[in-house]
Symmetry: C2
Subunit: 355 residues, 2 copies
């Protein structure tokens, strides 16, 4: 029972004057009880008026709405979450938000979730698996209604914990036919193969790769290499640079390639930033693009179309990934059945002037 109600005398007194002898003091904020008392209804009725207004009478709704306005009540979602076992919190795990690639996914995710009253929690794991495990516990402890992973969870320990927690998980930006739970992504192997075929089709023959050392970039470039081998184009030189990739790495990579393989005629970069670096370095060396050298990026960042020459690159609809992931999680949280657990969002080659 509410502490104040034990002493009838106090029932009309203000909150401040209710000082129980030894109970905990509370946060001092306005609670649903305060609202209910002011409206002259039961707390649960006030709760219903706020959460399922369709289920209460006009009269009740009016009284509660008034009391809320009068007190400036803001519902405590922590308490609500504990009681209902629904936190309305979704966690997203990224290697880092410094790389602009996942930005539009996070953006779309935030927006799509906000519409349904969900909030986003951000976790950065770095590119090291060990930190990912630690972060995972911190996140699971918050009992989010869903977890969005950029990439697929490879660490067996991580998979185990996630499974044990029973929280809906969406893996993104990658592909496997056997996801942990749900997946929205695309095949990096397909990207590598498709880009090789594309450049080959444009008459290029002497390829090079500049790629970040993260797992997904590596898979793209391995696939590219293998496809080149299969097409009888020999071994493709690779410059691996540390992730997150930078413009500077791109410049250095081209400089290195000009020493080791001066006669290459096409470069596949694992990011648009890297491609920009290659282009700037080429420009400063008087190498013409696409005349002498074709350059391809990955990501189709906002600036790619506005470069000079405009960058040919691989586009992945990061917004769509975010939206779909949000949909997955909201559907699950609302208890809806979801038909398919795996969405291949695909990718496309955006042909511009640099090839």
């Amino acid at each position: 029972m509410h502490a104040g109600a034990m002493l009838p005398l106090e029932s009309t007194m203000t909150k401040q004057s209710l000082i129980p002898r030894r109970a905990r003091r509370g946060s001092g904020a306005v609670t649903l009880h305060d609202v209910a008392r002011l409206a002259g209804v039961a707390p649960i009725s006030a709760s219903r008026a706020l959460n399922t207004p369709g289920q209460v009478s006009e009269e009740l709704l009016r009284k509660v709405t008034e009391a809320v306005a009068h007190t400036g009540y803001v519902p405590n979602r922590v308490a609500g979450g504990l009681a209902s076992a629904r936190s309305r919190l979704v966690a997203v795990l990224v290697p880092t938000i410094s790389g602009p690639v996942f930005l539009e996914t996070i953006n779309a995710l935030t927006e799509a979730l906000a519409v349904h009253g969900y909030q986003l929690m951000l976790g950065q794991s770095g590119y090291a698996d060990s930190r990912e495990d630690a972060l995972l516990d911190a996140i699971i402890g918050r009992r989010p209604d869903g977890i969005v992973l950029t990439g697929i969870m490879r660490s067996p320990e991580g998979r185990r914990r996630l499974l044990a927690a029973g929280i809906p998980v969406v893996e993104t930006w990658d592909f496997t036919p056997t996801p942990l739970d749900m997946l929205v992504g695309f095949s990096h192997v397909d990207v590598g193969r498709t880009v090789l075929a594309f450049l080959h089709g444009k008459g290029r023959r002497r390829f090079a790769i500049v790629a970040g050392d993260d797992e997904r970039s590596q898979r793209r470039h391995q696939a590219f290499k293998a496809a080149a081998q299969a097409a009888g184009l020999g071994d493709v030189p690779v410059i691996v640079v540390p992730a997150p990739t930078t413009l500077k790495s791109g410049r250095k990579a081209l400089a290195a390639l000009m020493v080791s393989h001066p006669n290459i005629d096409a470069i596949f970069c694992s990011s648009d930033l890297l491609a920009l670096g290659v282009m700037i370095e080429a420009q400063s060396r008087g190498i013409s693009i696409p005349g002498q050298l074709a350059v391809m990026g990955f990501g189709d960042l906002e600036f790619a179309a506005d470069l000079h020459p405009a960058l040919t690159t691989v586009r992945v609809d990061g917004q769509a990934i975010g939206r779909r992931a949000a949909q997955f999680i909201v559907d699950r949280a609302e208890g809806r059945e979801i038909a398919t657990h795996v969405i291949d969002i695909g990718f496309s080659i955006i042909e511009r002037d640099s090839v």
Copy 2:
């Protein structure tokens, strides 16, 4: 009392077999009670073993640690937060994370907070004040231990709500001597004045401004304009572009300026991306930089140093802002007294080749 303990018979049974007649079913996850029972201690002792291990005996600690390992227990921070009125959640409000400017602040914030066991909640308000108010309630409802604002809270309604909630607030990336609570930032007016003086000192006289339409950019450019007037340099033409700023906007802006004011000799851009756009457009028009035209950016993004020519720009230590903000909030949450509530982090002009 714990349901299971009412019936001695059940005390050794597994969780699954404890099916109360009508109580709520719980989440099914392992709880502190389960751990305590397995360790043969009281729940509160298990709690202490986990939270303040220094206060318990070796023996107790060992038993609890074992039970935790055995059960795979992950503490429920939602319940802990409710009981202790400390959520260990910090909210950060950005206009958008698409603009790369705040990225390193968010990054540093995440890192610095993670060390202390805090998690970051992300809110995107867009550049519209109305959405900010709605978002604020969603955030306050989570009772975070702190709120980090990018920019200063101008909406009176927002200020009122924030004050009423009693949550520590750090305003950032801006400056006012009278912050809502705490502040880590710098003066945009100073930036405008300083850049004008710098360009003037380099012998430039015919200025132009390309600026995003967000509030802070506007203040920088107003100050620049005013300072130019004061120096007797006449009226400075301004091209305002929508925020978030893009490379394309920069290109278009220069194109427009070349029509209206073809004889300008220096441009101050409100972002490095804008500056990059201006440089690319200049290059495609055969305008030499810095020979005919000096270009200055703002932000010192990662790529600025690697451009050709390298970009002269204004650097703000976004990481430091994030770290200081985190420190403020953690100190407050731990109940430590903080000496000063306002930190002017300053800025610096990074002189490279584009001026």
